[in-house]
């Protein structure tokens, strides 16, 4: 049996996202020139929710896009199961934007490394910041997040499950003991 511990429930997830939205606006002194790029899949949903929060606060629409990093992974040639290539959808120019990269869980940092490489192929933003719903530690690269929903200390034997309404039917964050 897998042991599961609930870290955040629906309200918790919602509060974390709202706080991230406020912090993004504060740090960037408003929402002008801002854009949000979510990393597939769950990062995209979180980015859209942050954009909706920012719209409520600032009354402006923030550009959002979706990034698939499969083709930029550094473990593509290792036998780690076959990744499915999904669509990247960034239908605006990222040059000179204050770009906020959004993902669900920050772990080794390798996904973010791949995302930074991918973004370089799309243009040259003025700055790139990183927002994550969960930071669980165990970095393998010199990468840190600018906005964190929840810091969750974990062991490598555990895994963090972020479940969102859009993909999983409900909002919650669980720690799961791997067998």
């Amino acid at each position: 049996m897998k042991e599961k511990v609930k870290i955040l429930d629906q309200e918790g997830v919602s509060r974390a996202i709202t706080r991230i939205a406020h912090e993004i606006i504060e740090k960037n002194k408003g929402s002008a020139g801002l854009c949000l790029i979510g990393i597939r899949n769950r990062g995209v949903y979180i980015a859209r929710r942050i954009a909706a929060c920012i719209k409520q606060i600032e009354k402006t629409d923030v550009l959002t896009g979706a990034l698939d990093i499969t083709l930029y992974r550094d473990d593509l040639t290792l036998a780690t199961g076959q990744p499915l290539v999904r669509k990247t959808e960034i239908d605006f120019n990222i040059n000179d934007k204050a770009l906020v990269l959004v993902d669900d869980v920050l772990y080794t940092g390798r996904t973010i490394r791949a995302a930074l490489d991918a973004l370089t192929d799309f243009g040259r933003p003025k700055s790139i910041q990183l927002a994550v719903l969960v930071d669980r530690g165990h970095r393998e690269l010199p990468i840190r997040a600018d906005f964190v929903g929840k810091n969750i200390p974990t062991s490598r034997k555990e895994s963090v499950e972020v479940r969102l309404k859009e993909s999983d039917g409900e909002d919650e964050i669980l720690i799961v003991e791997k067998e």
Partner: protein, 314 residues
């Protein structure tokens, strides 16, 4: 759904799910060609060899562009200008390419089964770019991809394939792929160009173009391959155009949104009129664009599968 094949030899050997996976992957790759920097590092450090025993411009260039957009290194070998002239066999040529540590061979050959034979003898990935009258899987995949993009689905469509069925690997691959995905295919040609036994592939046949066009959601018009076989009887060109050429008058009696495809190169005034080739129903140039995405997907998938099987052997 996992892709586990190191080769792509023909659509006859694939399941509907495998064909679906290639099409879905191609959809993701299509976006890459619309970027300012049209390149991703997915096949960086891999070498793809285009080994062509028949003249081909568009297929070879399409494979070359696809491989380059994935950051692979590409080597082109035209058999006329190689040691094949000196009598080297296909297998020997393949083994020499493998000894160069190439990863993928894209082969076009005038003998049916050439790609299959190469794939059996080699450890590198083999992608069939057309073998004799057998199969041309990536052409059919890009036809199906384009059709799906235009009409939103494949299942339940009536697809007519008109022209030189007898000499056409494009027709064969299309029949396999389309019928597996649930389309109804009708092959339409003068009787001398309908090979006996073709209905075993699951397609219907007809020599009544007007009737076939009336029900068709799409028509794939094949090139008359006058160069392919001097001994086979061919209809006289003008006579063929009169009876089987796709013209504006004939299209006017078909469905309004019928999709007109052609694998190219077009013989204008033989298989179709210029008005149709350049008309509102024609998707011929979109097929060329989609060909890149489909071939990127195929190169990526076979390469991944080969890497996975090699590292599990080690």
């Amino acid at each position: 759904m996992l892709w586990t094949r190191k080769d792509l030899l023909g659509l006859e050997y694939l399941s509907a799910e495998e064909i679906g996976l290639i099409l879905d992957t191609a959809e993701s790759f299509k976006e890459v060609s619309s970027r300012e920097i049209k390149k991703v590092p997915a096949l960086r450090g891999k070498t793809a060899v285009n080994l062509f025993y028949e003249p081909s411009t568009r297929t070879r260039i399409s494979f070359e562009v696809a491989a380059k957009r994935l950051s692979a290194d590409v080597i082109n070998i035209a058999a006329e200008a190689s040691s094949v002239k000196k009598g080297e066999t296909l297998i020997d040529t393949g083994k020499n390419i493998q000894a160069l540590k190439a990863d993928i061979i894209v082969v076009r050959h005038n003998c049916s089964g050439a790609a299959n034979m190469l794939a059996r003898s080699l450890d590198v990935s083999v992608v069939n770019a057309g073998d004799g009258w057998h199969e041309h899987p990536t052409q059919a995949l890009l036809d199906i991809f384009t059709l799906k993009e235009k009409l939103g689905k494949i299942k339940g469509l009536n697809v007519a394939i008109v022209g030189d069925i007898a000499h056409s690997r494009v027709a064969r691959s299309n029949v396999w792929g389309l019928t597996k995905l649930g389309a109804k295919v009708t092959l339409c040609a003068p009787e001398m160009l309908l090979p006996p036994g073709i209905e075993m592939t699951g397609a219907g046949t007809s020599s009544d173009l007007e009737e076939v066009l009336k029900n068709a959601d799409a028509v794939n018009v094949l090139r008359m391959q006058f160069e392919r076989d001097e001994n086979t009887a061919f209809p006289e060109q003008l006579d063929y155009f009169k009876k089987f050429g796709i013209t504006e008058e004939r299209l006017a009696r078909a469905k309004d949104n019928i999709v007109v495809m052609h694998p190219g190169p077009i013989n204008r005034g033989i298989e179709m009129s210029s008005g149709v080739a350049d008309g509102k129903n024609s998707v011929i140039l979109e097929q060329v664009t989609n060909g890149i995405a489909v071939r990127m997907a195929v190169l990526f998938l076979v390469s991944q599968a080969r890497d996975a099987s090699r590292s599990s052997d080690a």
